[in-house]
């Protein structure tokens, strides 16, 4: 229960409880000691009373003066513990053990024989056997003290007899409890509020530290550090110092994170810029060749028209690529056509010619093409240019476009450098990096992933490398088929 309370309540409440428990404990111990001491003091008082009675009663016994012995007993017994409540009484016995007089004649009757008889269930010794002070502890807790009264020459003239009831030795818990309750009440009244105040004062720095910790990252670090409590207490000082260090380290870490984020953003911008440049640059070489063709063979109507179509589609590809970079851009793209495949081969022809490569193509399209043309042109051109770069000189590069109702597949095979699947994954994972092939391959993988297709290496192809790209044969916003 206590542990569920807030620390700022726990501590003052705990101190207050400690005060109350301490008061109760001290009272209990004091009461126990009082009870033990009270018994010893009671017995000592009874001993002293017996001595006093013996000395004072001696001449009165010798004078056979019952009245004066009675007066002596009446005055002396008043000092016995419990006498005021009738729980103690004294008597003087004659030499034969009969009551000469007693302080309570109704209980210890005059001339009654005591010694040698049973009193309160306890047998008293005969007068002749009492040679010295004798204390009789009765089973009920009461005591009886018997002491001979002797003349100077040793003649026993009588006896002092004192009875103290058990109730006198029993602690009067009501009487003991009253001051204890008063003490506890005073403790609660005075010390508990003090304990509460001290507890609150002790808990306040901890609460301040907790308040500061709660707001780390939300409030200015300098302000939080100023609000940290500065205590002379070593433990609190350590906590404050640790929190201060934590704030400092978090501040450094946040600055590092901001720098890293900034650097990452810059790197991303750089990668995007490089990718865009790459994607724009790819068709540019072919387009420039087309303009050259147009200037040399522009007289032919067919050549001019075909070349202008090539230029239009190439520029449209670039436009599509650039538009895709604009935020919230709505790209209007047409479906792939067979001519797009021919354009890609045409655009790559200059590079292939420069390396004396022999380009072969095959088209196996059995269904209408519904994939976006700009994306597929970009992928096909990337794959073909990469293959031209990777192929051996004077070797052949085979380009194939296959399509059916399910998917569109484009592959490029050459007999040049072998690209393993592991190497492809490394290049793609590097997100382009410094590898000039990287941007093209990364764009192909991203495009395939974005359109629910794939981009992989055909490891069964030997020698050289065959790279395959495929995507579902459907429009971009079209739902996938039920299978």
């Amino acid at each position: 229960m206590l542990l569920r309370l807030p620390y700022r309540v726990q501590m003052p409440l705990g101190l207050s409880l400690a005060v109350v428990l301490s008061a109760l404990l001290v009272t209990a111990v004091a009461a126990h000691l009082f009870v033990r001491t009270a018994r010893v003091e009671t017995l000592a008082t009874v001993d002293r009373a017996a001595q006093l009675l013996g000395a004072q009663a001696l001449p009165l016994l010798a004078a056979d003066d019952t009245w004066r012995v009675f007066a002596l007993l009446r005055n002396t017994a008043a000092f016995l513990p419990g006498a005021s409540r009738g729980r103690a009484r004294a008597a003087v016995l004659d030499s034969k053990g009969r009551v000469f007089a007693s302080s309570a004649p109704q209980l210890i009757q005059t001339a009654q024989t005591l010694l040698g008889t049973s009193v309160n269930g306890q047998q008293l010794p005969p007068a002749a056997e009492v040679k010295g002070r004798l204390r009789i502890d009765r089973p009920d807790g009461s005591i009886a003290l018997l002491e001979p009264i002797s003349s100077e020459d040793g003649q026993v003239l009588g006896f002092t007899y004192i009875e103290v009831d058990a109730l006198v030795f029993e602690p009067d818990w009501a009487e003991l409890t009253r001051p204890a309750l008063i003490g506890v009440g005073l403790a609660v009244f005075l010390l508990a509020p003090a304990g509460w105040w001290i507890g609150r004062r002790m808990a306040a720095p901890v609460a301040s530290v907790a308040h500061v910790i709660e707001r780390i990252g939300l409030v200015d670090s300098a302000l939080l550090r100023r609000q940290l409590p500065h205590s002379a207490d070593p433990e609190l000082g350590r906590i404050s110092a640790a929190v201060d260090q934590l704030i400092s380290e978090l501040q450094v870490r946040r600055q590092a994170e901001r720098r890293a984020l900034s650097a990452e953003r810059m790197a991303a911008v750089g990668r995007i810029t490089a990718a865009v440049a790459h994607e724009i640059n790819n068709p540019l070489a072919g387009l420039l060749t087309a303009t050259q063709t147009l200037s040399l063979h522009g007289a032919s109507e067919e050549t001019r028209k075909r070349t202008l179509d090539l230029l239009r589609r190439g520029l449209h590809q670039i436009q599509t690529t650039v538009t895709a970079l604009l935020p919230q851009a709505r790209i209007e793209d047409r479906a792939l056509e067979i001519d797009d495949f021919s354009d890609v081969v045409t655009l790559a022809q200059p590079d292939a010619a420069s390396r004396k490569l022999h380009l072969t193509t095959s088209v196996d399209v059995t269904s209408a093409l519904r994939v976006p043309s700009a994306v597929m042109r970009q992928v096909m051109l990337n794959m073909l240019l990469n293959a031209i770069k990777a192929a051996r000189e004077q070797a052949s590069v085979h380009v194939q476009l296959r399509a059916d109702g399910e998917k569109v597949e484009f592959s490029v095979a050459h007999e040049g450098l072998v690209l393993t699947r592991e190497a492809l994954e490394t290049i793609v994972a590097a997100a382009g990096g410094d590898d000039p092939r990287g941007f093209g391959l990364w764009v192909c993988r991203e495009t395939a992933t974005q359109h629910g297709g794939g981009f992989d290496v055909d490891e069964t192809h030997r020698p050289g490398t065959r790279v395959v790209f495929w995507m579902p044969n459907r429009e971009l916003n079209e739902e996938p088929s039920a299978d």
């Binding site: 056979d64 003066d65 009245w67 001339a111």
Partner: protein, 299 residues
């Protein structure tokens, strides 16, 4: 009635200091002691009255001193014999004693005055027991094997009457479980009230006065038996005392009922006055004493 709280201790001390101062002045060497020192008259008191109230005695002493032209002092003793010893030794001039010692030592005493109690010079002896009937005592015959309290060996009501009644009941002293003297009638009442004794023989006048004053010991006891009337304890003087002074004391005592101060003192004593009295008043005591062996009064 006399009560402790009524005592004027301040006045009492002032008067005593004054008297001591007068005495010291008289002791000056250039002053004739015989010429200046007033006459002294010392009166012994026994337990026949409740004479332990110092303020009352001081007032009574003042009253008598003013009328006797002498310094009157009271000397109290709790045993009758002690007072008589002082009287016979000349240490006191007069004594308020009991009728029994008067008849016993009549030849050595002169009758000074006899108090009037309830209008007559007589009183009774009471047999008392604890109140409530816890002790089965209805008469003298029930006292066999009981504890009995006497007042004084020279007391008529506190011893002599009891001896006569025990004899009449056929109870010897050895038939009592125990008997003891309490050195005063008041103590008899306290002994019986506290059950120290099962019964006691007490001066009827003292017991009634105690009851009148509301004393607990009287309230906690009850009267079982009352004796016939006996002569009230008299004031006696030593025959060798100066006759003029004794006569003056007698006249003053007899005249106490004639003035307010005297009547106030008598009221405190629960008495009506004093008369000269005749020895014949004590004939019943004399007769009783003669019947009791060892009483010291012969036939």
């Amino acid at each position: 009635m006399l009560r402790i709280r009524d005592i004027d201790w301040g006045g009492y001390l002032k008067r005593n200091l004054f008297l001591r101062g007068v005495g010291a002045a008289c002791a000056a060497p250039w002053v004739s002691r015989a010429a200046t020192q007033p006459k002294q008259l010392r009166i012994g008191l026994t337990a026949v009255i409740l004479a332990d109230q110092a303020a009352f005695l001081a007032r009574w002493a003042d009253y008598l001193s003013q009328r006797l032209d002498a310094r009157v002092t009271f000397v109290s003793r709790d045993q009758y014999q002690a007072v008589h010893d002082m009287l016979f030794n000349g240490q006191i001039d007069a004594a308020w004693t009991c009728g029994y010692p008067y008849v016993r030592f009549q030849s050595q005493l002169q009758l000074l005055a006899v108090p009037l109690y309830q209008g007559q010079p007589f009183y009774q002896s009471y047999l008392i027991r604890p109140a409530g009937g816890a002790v089965e005592v209805r008469g003298w015959a029930d006292l066999r094997d009981k504890v009995f309290a006497y007042s004084d060996p020279l007391s008529n009501s506190g011893w002599l009457v009891a001896q006569g009644q025990f004899a009449s009941a056929g109870i010897a002293q050895k038939d009592l479980k125990r008997a003891f003297f309490t050195h005063g009638h008041r103590n008899v009442a306290e002994a019986v009230a506290s059950h120290l004794a099962d019964a006691g023989s007490i001066d009827g006048y003292v017991w009634e006065t105690m009851l009148l004053q509301g004393m607990p010991a009287a309230k906690r006891t009850e009267v079982v038996w009352k004796s016939r009337l006996h002569g009230f304890p008299p004031l006696v003087a030593n025959p060798g005392a100066e006759s003029a002074e004794v006569e003056a004391l007698r006249r003053t005592l007899l005249g106490m009922s004639d003035d307010d101060a005297g009547r106030a003192l008598l009221k405190s004593l629960n008495l009506d006055g004093f008369i000269a009295g005749q020895p014949s008043i004590y004939d019943s005591i004399r007769q009783l004493a003669r019947s009791v062996p060892g009483s010291g009064v012969v036939a």
